[in-house]
Amino acid sequence: MADLLGVQNVETFYGPIMALRGVSMKVREGQVLALLGANGAGKSTLLKTISGTMVPEKGRVEFQGKSIEGTPPHQVARLGIAQVPEGREVFPLLTTEQNLHMGGYRRTRAEVAESLQRVFALFPALYAKRTSQAGYLSGGQQQMLAIGRAMMSAPRLMLLDEPSLGLSPQLVGEIAETIVKLNRDESVTIMLVEQNARMALDVADYGYVLENGRIVMEDTSSSLRDATDIKEFYLGMKEQGVRGRRRWKQRKTWR
């Protein structure tokens, strides 16, 4: 398998705060990759650095062999990288269907219609709500919508930031199933950030563990799963607990 994405020695800052301290990793074509780590480890920052919503101070991000660090995020999206950000960022006043159409913003009508069929087949709940305003969907439905919207662009690589957050165990199972289907049937390569390490390692082939802005461990999912007993802390397999997940609500600072 070839490398689809390569990250080399990336350092990313929030003002004076160094959130990534020299991260190197790669994602292979066709893989489901899990990125694990405690709160504040820098997982979301790594995804934002890849999608271009944050620009690294140092290091390289390569997608299909081309450097993309510093490329504006809307252009990164057009290259085939779809990020589903933390906290399901839907367009609250647009309908479900309009949200999905926006996902296929750069594609032809026919392609959009075809992808729409696939999304509705995967998420019948969204079909039932297609004319409702997205802001009025349940949390789980909004998560499905965010994933569906990312599918609409027919991405090569999908970056999922904690899709299971705040969902019931049953919905977490459904999301896991979706990830497997996306990867298998739509041949989308997936990079999955999760607090729920058990779920992530169940669906992933390979995993990285991030701690304080550094990669501290990487291995196949099965080896990581065995290591979970000793490395419980890194994998955050303790109680999921209350988390300051609305931390970057002040979106003026998203760049």
Partner: protein, 292 residues
């Protein structure tokens, strides 16, 4: 006041209100895209009137062609202004950008008086002086034309924002900027487009206003009333801005008959003040707070 007189005042108020409403739409469009109020909006309309004067009187174009050319030139001017003045200000405090638009207003006014002169002008148009008479009611053709023109423009805008992909993407970008860039929408492009649209609408408003008002470099000050309308409408709502603009036009006309002059002139702002006290978020504030 008898029925006929009432109807006449109402029509004049409605048509004046349509112009306020159109300018208010421009305020809202730019505000939704950039969270900045463009205080030069009224002056853009003034420039639009002079551009129309140039096309119609100087170049002698037919009215409809002149209207289209005015809107197109104004849209271009709007996009250029955004590119030259507003985009370099990304990341600067909102206050700085606001002051920039105030300064832009001054520049546009002195530009207009140096290019076209300060003496009032009127443009050639097919409406002035024509009168529609129903029984003892006679209505100015130019007033009717403003209302019809505004209605058609608003229908076109409504269709654009609901059905055109680029229109929906403008809504999307104003509702959630992060999600918009992640699906590949260029926020810069949306901002340019918002400026182009709102300057184009200002040009349209100018052409609509021209038959009922003389053109001079100070005419853009009616933008302040339109700003009051945009506030009353909720600043984030296009229908709200339009309806509030029309309401202010009507209230103003009736106030001129019923109230002493000073009070009548202040009536749009009184309405705004009352509105800000009673319902600070405006008449039509969208349910969801805008998040950017």
């Amino acid at each position: 006041m008898d029925g006929a007189q009432f109807l006449q005042v109402l029509i004049v108020g409605l048509s004046q209100g349509c112009v306020y409403g159109l300018i208010a739409l421009g305020f809202v469009l730019i505000y939704k895209a950039t969270e900045v109020v463009n205080f030069a909006q009224g002056d853009l309309m003034m420039i639009g009137m002079f551009v129309a004067f140039t096309f119609l009187n100087v170049l002698g174009m037919p009215y409809w062609l002149g209207l289209v050319c005015t809107c197109a030139s104004m849209a271009l001017i709007g996009a250029l202004l955004e590119r030259a003045l507003i985009r370099p200000m990304i990341g600067e405090p909102t206050f700085a950008v606001l002051m920039l638009t105030v300064g832009l207003g001054f520049i546009l006014r002195s530009f207009a008086s140096s290019v076209w002169g300060a003496d009032p002008k009127a443009i050639h148009n097919p409406f002035s002086g024509e009168v529609l008479t129903f029984g003892d009611v006679s209505l100015g053709f130019e007033n009717i034309a403003v209302m019809v023109g505004t209605a058609m423009l608003c229908i076109a805008l409504g269709l654009y924002f609901r059905y055109a992909r680029i229109g929906v993407s403008m809504q999307a970008a104003s509702q959630n900027q992060l999600a918009a860039v992640l699906v590949g929408i260029s926020v810069n492009r949306i901002t340019s487009l918002a400026w182009a649209l709102s300057a184009g609408i200002a040009g349209f408003a100018g052409v609509m206003l021209a038959p009922v008002s003389l053109i001079d470099p100070q005419v853009g000050f009616i933008g302040i009333k339109a700003f009051a309308a945009a506030i009353i409408g909720g600043l984030g709502s296009l229908p709200g801005a339009l309806i509030a603009g029309i309401a202010i036009g009507v209230i103003e006309q009736f106030a001129q008959i019923a109230l002493p002059t000073g009070l009548a002139t202040a009536s749009p702002y009184l309405v705004m003040l009352i509105m800000l006290i009673v319902r600070p978020s405006g008449l039509f504030a969208s349910v969801q707070r805008k998040k950017v």
